[in-house]
Amino acid sequence: MELDDMKVIWNDKSIEGTDANKISEMIGKQSQSPIAKMKRNLRIEVLLLAFSLGSVTVYYFIAFKGEYSIIGWVYAVLLVLFCYYFFRKNKLLNEMQCSSCRVKPNLELQLRQLERYATFYLFSGTAIVPVLFIFLGIVLYYKKPALINKTILYPSLTNPVWKFLLAWFILLSVSTAIMWVLNRGYINKLYGRHINKLKQLLAQINE
């Protein structure tokens, strides 16, 4: 079969059409593209975190006659960090697709932005562990001074500074390393197939 001979049959306009009402109905439907789904998931994450972290923050400011307001501040700082995290992720998602662009630049854009997104997810998801430990350490230092002499995590007369620094170093590096490995596996499971598919398509187009 010669392709050029097929052009006439191909361009025969006998394909079943869709009526105007059906097309108008489709316009209002949700997109099922991977990027649209990622955006929807991000919105759910924002709502859940804003609600849970926001309520805990308010609780610590109001409860116990403000005695534990420092914990409220810690949560408020965390909330700000999460706001930045979601803002950045949303920005990357918005820049991930240009469906009006030519096919090749669009695929390149998708791959570049998705890799940035995954890297940002990996770094921020890992960095949260040391950040949380340090915040917790600061809170306990101020609120439970009795602990200071009972653990090597705080400097004291019986615990020299080098021991305290070493303890923190071990704690943070081990927990961060574990989180890094877990996050990498999770992110690969979430976006690995998508990234590989984009690479495969770009390899095809650059052949």
């Binding site: 006998s14 869709t18 097309i23 316009i27 593209s33 469906s99 009006s100 096919v103 090749k104 398509l201």
Partner: protein, 167 residues
Amino acid sequence: MTQDEFVRQVQANQGIIQKICNIYGQTRTDREDLFQEIIVQLWKAVPKFQEQSKFSTWLYRVALNTAISDFRKKRRTLDVIKTEVESLEIKSEFIEVEKEEKLNTLYAAIGRLPEIDKAIVMLYLEDKSYDEMEDILGVTANNLRVRMNRIKEKLRELTKNISHGTR
């Protein structure tokens, strides 16, 4: 562009969308889902449509970008796909059976090409010039010419195999 104008334009050009869906969708449900997704993406992209470019060129870009980036899991296995592709709902009243068979064989053969080659061959069949194809795909016209020769060869082989009932 108002919603009514958009619907009118889409209706006038829906043959293009249907053909893209036939090429990239393996089952009827895949094709219907893809059709809907392309309409949604087109409507979302309307604010970016610049009147100086042709509506059909813009439509090809959005529709192909949507079809190529559609990574949803396909619903059926390859064996079933073959049967379904061969039974595409193309009105046969005005096409002789032989022509219809040829077209179905062609669809089945194109269905076995890599995603990017599918787009190239579709634009070729739509009688687009290599410059227009470059404008839609972002691949140089020279590169497209070379690739098209390879694709023609591959399709010749594939259609022969399909007609003889081999894989």
